[in-house]
Each structure stands twice: as structure tokens, then as C-alpha cells.
């Protein structure tokens, strides 16, 4: 301690202090901002593999350097999260040029998806693929998530995430197959018609809450058959066709003569 006290008047002391302060600020900043996807530090081989995959699978529409064409938007700056969402849900590569890219079995395996994401992320900064901790439903509060879901998501995706129709053939898809990672990526990147919900609109904890709420909807429904949770359409169909039809059938049977 004495040595430290003695050296504080050393001519290099301000420099050392400044360096210490800078390092401390940097560490504190990186801790506060919770930089996503520190795990996915892509190697050069990943990026090269991704570029090869991109050339053969995506460049017809998105252009040889992902700069975009008349058919499809530029991918510079969309980030790894956007690529991972589109490819891991099978939406991209698109089957045909329809109003909506539908969810289907993914064409790429996990490794190829990450390579593609690494390549596109190398073109310009954008949202990265979230870490497992960022999307952990166990750390979310489903009740708080319900309030956020009601205010921000339920108008398109239905109150329990059963999906719904938009305009001109577009739909808000049901959320029953989306993984926590895909839900997070959709929030932050706004795929297709969906607007972006960034950290200012829904905080990182809020995103976990929303994920917890969506995951909660996959639990057993204590009310029995949900009929798709589509509200009056499927329930009305059931009541009018099956319920009333059954009653009419019974009435006809009661009125018919016995043989």
C-alpha cells in the first residue's frame, strides 16, 4: 500500500489511471449493453462456406453480393438474426413468389444456416442471433408477457398466438411451432409484413416474458378441445353444423315411424 501511495506522483501515473478508467468503462459498458451472440463469433471458414451457399441458393433473387434485385430486398445490414429466422423456419429459400413466405421444412441444416447467417452478418451490422439465455422462457414472466402480447402482438397473431389473416393473401402465422430463438428474431428483425419491435418497444426482459407467454400456450388446454382457438368462426361452425345438425337428426329420428 505504501508503494502505491508513493508512486501516485510518478509522471506515468495519469497515463496508467487513464488506461484503467478506459478499461473499466469498456467492461462496464459491455456488461450493461448485454451484447447478443458472443458465442457466434464466426470464423473466416464459416463466412466463406456461407458465401458459397448464398451464391448457389439465394443469389438468384437477392443478387450475387446480396445487394438486392427487383425480386428481393438487399440483405446488407439485416443481420444474422434475420437470416437465421428466415432459413431455420424454412421460409427462405422461398418456394414461389407468393404474397407470403410460408413456414416449411428448412432446406439447410443448422450448420449451413449459421454459415449463411455469418456471411450475411459480415456484409453489414445487424441484430445477431440471440444467446440461449436471452430467449430462455424459464427466465420470463408469462403474466407480464401476456400484457405485452396483448398490447403489441395479439391483434395480428391472436390472443393465444393462433395466427390470423392480413390483407391480400398475407397472414400473421400461428406461433405454435416457433422456437424461443425464432420468436426473439422475429421481434427484433420484423420479417416480411411484421413491424420491428426493438429494445425500446419491448425490452430484453420483455422479450423473454413474451416468449414465456407463447410457450405457456403450448401447455394442455384445461378447457378441452380448443378448435384451433380461432374464436367465433370455428366455434360457430361446430355449434351450427355439428350441434344443430345433431339436434335436427335426433328430431327426425324421433318423428320417423318405427319399422
Amino acid at each position: 500500500m505504501k508503494a502505491l501511495a508513493a508512486s501516485r506522483r510518478h509522471r506515468l501515473a495519469p497515463v496508467v489511471l487513464l488506461l484503467l478508467a478506459l478499461i473499466l468503462t469498456g467492461v462496464a459498458y459491455s456488461a450493461v449493453t448485454s451484447e447478443p451472440a458472443t458465442a457466434q463469433t464466426a470464423s473466416q471458414e464459416d463466412i466463406e462456406e456461407g458465401e458459397a451457399l448464398f451464391r448457389s441458393n439465394c443469389s438468384t433473387c437477392h443478387g450475387l453480393n446480396a445487394q438486392g434485385t427487383d425480386l428481393a430486398p438487399s440483405l446488407v445490414g439485416v443481420g444474422a438474426a434475420s437470416v437465421h429466422f428466415q432459413v431455420s423456419t424454412g421460409r427462405m429459400p422461398m418456394a414461389n413468389n407468393s404474397p407470403q413466405a410460408e413456414r416449411k421444412d428448412p432446406m439447410m441444416n443448422e450448420e449451413q444456416t449459421y454459415a449463411l447467417a455469418a456471411y450475411v452478418a459480415s456484409l453489414g451490422p445487424g441484430p445477431a442471433i440471440p444467446s440461449a439465455q436471452q430467449v430462455n422462457p424459464e427466465e420470463g414472466n408469462a403474466a407480464a408477457g401476456m400484457e405485452l402480447f396483448r398490447a403489441n402482438c395479439s391483434m395480428c397473431h391472436n390472443a393465444v398466438g393462433a395466427g390470423g389473416a392480413l390483407t391480400e393473401g398475407k397472414v400473421a402465422p400461428p406461433l405454435d411451432q416457433a422456437t424461443p430463438t425464432q420468436i426473439w428474431e422475429a421481434l427484433r428483425t420484423g420479417p416480411q409484413s411484421m413491424p420491428v419491435f426493438n429494445e425500446a418497444a419491448i425490452t430484453d426482459q420483455g422479450a423473454r416474458d413474451v416468449i414465456a407467454y407463447v410457450m405457456e400456450q403450448r401447455e394442455v388446454d384445461p378447457g378441452g378441445i380448443s378448435l384451433g382457438n380461432l374464436g367465433p368462426v370455428s366455434e360457430g361452425f361446430w355449434v351450427w353444423i355439428v350441434g344443430l345438425g345433431g339436434l335436427i337428426g335426433l328430431a327426425v329420428w324421433i318423428g320417423a315411424k318405427s319399422s
Binding site: N198, A201, G224
Partner: protein, 357 residues
């Protein structure tokens, strides 16, 4: 029965028009047909066994429902709740359905079904009975002296007329505690309580825009292009009548590329660098309009598919709505937060008679 034409005559192809009777003839009863159970005791026994079998199913279902109530513990998992409800419901339903089906089958197949004719009785009572009734009413009125006591009559009518009022008045009165439609011309955006506003460069104060439902003020820099915000006035959750005020003040906000945004000269300072805020209450019948498609800038109402184009001041592009969504004039305060310049410039929500007055 002897006057009836023999069956089949009317349908024979060669019949003359004169063969057709002028008036529809009562065909009378069809000849009685014996059922299977009437023709042999063996068949009757079989029907009896069927009815008994249905009743036994009913008995088993009822017992199973009660057993299920005790046997399935509720409260450990949701699956238990579902199973318990299912078993009790099936027990109750099959128990009662079985009784009904057995009764109907018994009546149709086993009970005596010989047709009988019972003539309808004349509807009016005989004249002397009716005359007597009229006489009794007249005597009753005469004996009550109501004709000679007008005050009594007035008091009775008055009491009868006032008696329903304690029921009707609260019913109508509690529809709303005020009938002043001018309430719709004012929303919470027009007030700036202490601590909810931000100071503008010109010194005035505007209410900050905050996220719904967690009430965090929003910085203009955080609203990226294509992002969506459900917005309420900052500090509103702490106010009295929060939900009533929220219902009028909810706003949808997004940022549109300024190159794609059409802004009329009189609304030049209503948006901030492409950030636009519009009332979320549909001008058709007041549903929350919030299905936003960021690629087309269309905002869709889920109730009747009214579609508003946010890039063109929320004008109606489809559907039954007649007016554009009211725009909330916004700007940025000295700390970089979004604030409302003023209240909406027109009443939000669906039309009402005095709207344009």
C-alpha cells in the same frame, strides 16, 4: 272412408280432368301398419332388450361420472382438470341421453301405436257462458265504486305508473354518469400533469409518449424505420379512470422512410423525421386498429377490415371506415424524448351526431 278415391287413382296417367275432385278431399287415416314388434313376440323381446341395453349404458355412464369425480384428483396437472371435466361431462351427458333415447325407442317401437281420431273442440265458449262473464266484470266495476271515485282512480293510475321507476331510472342512469359528448373532443394528450411532460425548445411543454403497458418514455432515436410502438400518454397508468382515458388516448406509432411519407403542408410539423403517431381507435365503430404491415404501411382493423395507409396520413384505402385516423401531432423535447405537441385536432373514434358542431 268410403268417399275416398282408391289409392293411386290420381296419379294414373290416363285420368280425365273430370276425375279430379274439385276440392281437396280428406284422405283419412292411412291403414294401420303393424311393426315388427307387433307381428311377433320375438321381435318385441328384442326391442325390449335394446331399450334395456340403452338404459344400462345410461346407468353405467352416471355411475362412471360420479366415480370419475372422486377417482381423478384435480389440482396436480392441467391434464387432470381436463380429464376430470371430460369424465363428469360424459357421465352426465350419456346418462341423460341414454334415458331420452331409450324413451323414444320404447315409444316408437314397443308402445301401442294404433291411430285414434279425436275431434277438435270449438274454440269459443258457449254464448251464455260469455254473457255471464261480461256481466260479472260489469258488476265488479260497479261494486268497486271506481266510476264514482275519480280521485281513487287517479291515485291508483299514478301509483302504478311510478312503481317501475326505481328499476328503470338506475338502469338508464348507470349507462353513463354524464351525457356530455364533448368528452370525446378531449383526450389525456391535452393535459400535462407534473412529471409527465417534456420541455420543447420554444419553452412550451408537451406530454411524453410512453410504451404500453410498461409506461417507459420513448426516445425519437429508438424508433427505427419499420418499428412499431403501442403508445400511451406517459404517466397515464397512475391517473384516475386510467382505462377510460387509455381507451381514448391509445396511439400507434411507427417510423416510415421520409422518402415514402406524404406530408401535407398544414401537417408539416406533426411528424418527426418520419415518425408518425395515429389514434388506434377505428373511425368506423371504434375497434383498436393495430394490424400494421410494415412493407405496405397499411394499418388494418381486425373487426371490419378497414385499412388505413399510414404513409398518406392514415387515409382509408379499404373498408367501411369513412374518415382517416386522427393524427397526434408529435415532436421531440430538449431531452430527445417524443412528446405530443397538442391533443388530437378532431374527436377520436367513430362518428356521433354533434361531431362536426
Amino acid at each position: 272412408m268410403s268417399t275416398n278415391p282408391p289409392p293411386g287413382e290420381l296419379t294414373t296417367g290416363g285420368a280425365h280432368a273430370s276425375d279430379v275432385p274439385e276440392q281437396f278431399q280428406d284422405p283419412g287415416l292411412e291403414p294401420h301398419q303393424l311393426r315388427l314388434a307387433d307381428r311377433s313376440e320375438k321381435n318385441a323381446k328384442r326391442v325390449e332388450r335394446q331399450v334395456v341395453a340403452i338404459l344400462i349404458v345410461s346407468v353405467i355412464a352416471s355411475i362412471a361420472g360420479v366415480v370419475g369425480f372422486f377417482a381423478i384428483p384435480v389440482g396436480t396437472t392441467l391434464m387432470d382438470v381436463r380429464l376430470s371435466t371430460l369424465v363428469i361431462g360424459l357421465g352426465l351427458g350419456l346418462g341423460m341421453l341414454g334415458i331420452g333415447l331409450a324413451a323414444a325407442h320404447w315409444a316408437k317401437a314397443l308402445m301401442d301405436n294404433t291411430e285414434r281420431v279425436e275431434k277438435r273442440k270449438p274454440v269459443p265458449s258457449p254464448p251464455e257462458v260469455r254473457e255471464e262473464a261480461v256481466e260479472q266484470i260489469a258488476t265488479g266495476i260497479e261494486e268497486s265504486r271506481i266510476g264514482r271515485r275519480p280521485v281513487l282512480k287517479g291515485a291508483l293510475v299514478g301509483a302504478a305508473a311510478l312503481a317501475p321507476l326505481p328499476f328503470v331510472v338506475p338502469l338508464v342512469g348507470s349507462l353513463s354518469n354524464t351525457w356530455d359528448v364533448n368528452r370525446f373532443r378531449h383526450t389525456a394528450w391535452g393535459d400535462v400533469p407534473e412529471g409527465t411532460g417534456g420541455r420543447l425548445p420554444d419553452g412550451s411543454v408537451g406530454r411524453r409518449l410512453a410504451t404500453d403497458p410498461d409506461d417507459r418514455p420513448i426516445r425519437a432515436a429508438d424508433v427505427t424505420i419499420g418499428s412499431a410502438f403501442a403508445v400511451i400518454p406517459h404517466g397515464l397508468p397512475d391517473e384516475e379512470h386510467y382505462l377510460e382515458e387509455k381507451a381514448k388516448a391509445v396511439v400507434f406509432m411507427t417510423r416510415i422512410d421520409p422518402n415514402e411519407l406524404a406530408v401535407s403542408p398544414e401537417r408539416r410539423d406533426w411528424s418527426y423525421d418520419g415518425i408518425v403517431a395515429y389514434s388506434k381507435v377505428c373511425t368506423h365503430v371504434g375497434c383498436p386498429v393495430a394490424l400494421y404491415e410494415q412493407q405496405t404501411h397499411h394499418l388494418l382493423c381486425p373487426c371490419h377490415q378497414s385499412t388505413f395507409d399510414l404513409a398518406e396520413e392514415a387515409k382509408v384505402v379499404f373498408g367501411p371506415a369513412k374518415r382517416a385516423l386522427p393524427q397526434l401531432p408529435i415532436t421531440v423535447d430538449v431531452d430527445g424524448y417524443l412528446v405530443a405537441r397538442s391533443d388530437f385536432h378532431e374527436p377520436v373514434g367513430p362518428s356521433f351526431w354533434e361531431r362536426d358542431r
